[in-house]
Amino acid sequence: MSDAAIAAPRVESQGYRFPVSETIKHAVLIIGALIVLFPFYVMISLSLKSPPEILQNIGGFFGSQETFIDDACLIVGGTEEECLKNPVVYNYTTAFEKAPLVRYMLNGVIVTASIFLIQVLIALPCAYALAKLRFWGREAVFGMVLFCLLIPVHAIALPLYVMLAKLGLTNTYAALVIPWTISVFGIFLMRQFFMTVPDDLIDAARMDGMSEYAIVWRVMLPTAIPALTAFAIFSVVAHWNDYFWPRIVITGDRTLFTPPLGLREFKGDADGDNYGPMMATAVVIVTPLVVAFLLAQRRFVEGITLTGMK
């Protein structure tokens, strides 16, 4: 891998002999990046503006930040002075007041962290056995695992829901966590990574009298941090953002809502008045992931690369 990293610039640099195609390549890239960023620009901008500015598309990115009169506040009997609001303050306070957003974020943290930890607990020993141990039926087990890579949990949500309902687990954290605790993708990713770990390392650990369990957790786990970081991002992003499954299993209890369900509070009345607070909610939900990704970014690509995923 390091060889490829060193050699890649050498190969690529020759491309500069073709300035026209270079220009086209970069133009497409820049246009692509701008298009990709545009919705984020819109999201942040809407979270800063007042309802009239949103509906009339005025005020540029930041809006004029002039105070406006909140109609909903007048209806419940506030005086005109009380109902004079600053757009940014209004949008973000409404986001946190209309829905218990802090609670939803906390639920999101509890659910995504539990899912990831259990996924690792279950996947790591399995991945190690599939990558490094010789035993009867190994190919069959690996086939059984790979097959599940092609079966999305969403598609079998029905019987899973029935199973949880029978156990009386709907509207609990367990319902949000349990079906996702086995990650075939995780097993696959970690197996690919473990294949690249030298056998000498494991043999040395065995000579020291370590059990296979101890090898998994004390030898393999520390070497697997980059690959686990990559897997963590995949796992956390998928479950922090999931809407489909929480919507099915959390039916009544709003205190168990996860962040995307919080956006639902604004659904159905998606007129200009609510766009500001709704987009403020979206900004609040996305920010932790963006920050986490930026912090882990270097390890992330490296981690996927180390798994030999090609």
Binding site: A4, A8, F40, V42, L55, L150, K310
Partner: protein
């Protein structure tokens, strides 16, 4: 000892994947209407009813169009971004991060945002298109356009995700093949087409499978933006299953549709894995 290491994973796989799959298949041959019913065996009746249902056939066609419309451009763009951002450096890692951002946004949030962008006349899409003289479009309300509006959102959201797998694939390519091509006088385009793409066959196969699965399971935007409408134009398979089960309480049809969907997904995934991995043996 190896079996003890495997056991937790195998138990979970059986309980949360194989057992539910078996149940779905069994229920699809009974006349159960609601969860928990134990229906009588009725053979293939649910499947007959399913294929007689115009809405299901519509969802099948929509999902096929949606899959082609999302998988091909998002993989092409993901690959393009990856070969452009192959060299590491400050600028490229900045671009990589930006291109990955859409993956970080919940699909529901993206949907809420795109509802606003797609509002007829006052929405941002029409607002900017009007400036270059394009007439107002009913992005989500016109049955012949709505599905493609969802396709645009999906491509926007997924291209950067697939880019990552291509970046990882590119980094683990042996460089001698490309160097050989360079010495032979192959230009940049020729090297991509005849060397890089064939050697990335397994990556293309893997990403295609993920993209196909996403084309089936990502329906948050359908739930939020269109509810399958207008006139069923954006009704996708999983949304159809979801409605049959949760709103129409027709468990037989919902499970039969699940079996058909899974079968199609498996066949297509196997096909992509076979064909694309094979290309490597010819050329790599």
């Amino acid at each position: 000892m190896p079996y003890a290491l495997l056991l937790p994973a195998l138990i979970f796989l059986v309980v949360f994947t194989y057992w539910p799959m078996l149940q779905v298949s069994l229920i699809s041959t009974t006349d159960a209407r609601r969860y928990g019913d134990i229906g009588g065996f009725i053979g293939a009746d649910n499947y007959v009813r399913l294929f007689a249902d115009e809405d299901f056939r519509g969802a099948l066609v929509n999902n096929a169009l949606y899959a082609v419309g999302t998988v091909v451009p998002s993989i092409a763009l993901g690959f393009w971004f990856a070969i452009m951002l192959r060299r590491s450096g400050a600028v490229t890692s900045f671009c990589r991060a930006i291109l990955f951002f859409p993956t970080l946004m919940p699909l529901v949030a993206a949907s809420a945002l795109f509802i606003f962008i797609f509002l007829p006349t006052i929405g941002l899409a029409d607002y900017y298109l009007a400036k270059i003289g394009v007439r107002s479009t009913n992005w989500l309300g016109d049955p012949s356009i709505a599905l493609w509006s969802l396709v645009m959102l999906t491509v926007w959201k997924n291209a950067g995700y697939y880019m990552l797998f291509f970046l990882a694939g590119l980094q683990s390519l042996p460089e001698d093949a490309e160097e050989a091509a360079l010495i032979e006088g192959a230009n940049w385009w020729q090297r991509q087409v005849y060397v890089v793409i064939p050697m990335l066959g397994p990556t293309f196969a893997f990403v295609t499978v993920i993209a196909l699965i996403n084309a089936v399971i990502q329906i948050d935007h359908v739930i939020v933006m269109t509810q399958g409408g207008p006139n069923n134009a954006t009704n996708l398979l999983l949304y159809y299953i979801f409605q049959e089960a949760h709103e129409f309480f027709d468990l037989g049809k919902a499970t039969a549709a699940t079996v058909v969907t899974l079968a199609l997904l498996l066949v297509l995934s196997m096909f992509s894995l076979r064909t694309m991995e094979k290309r490597v043996h010819y050329e790599g």
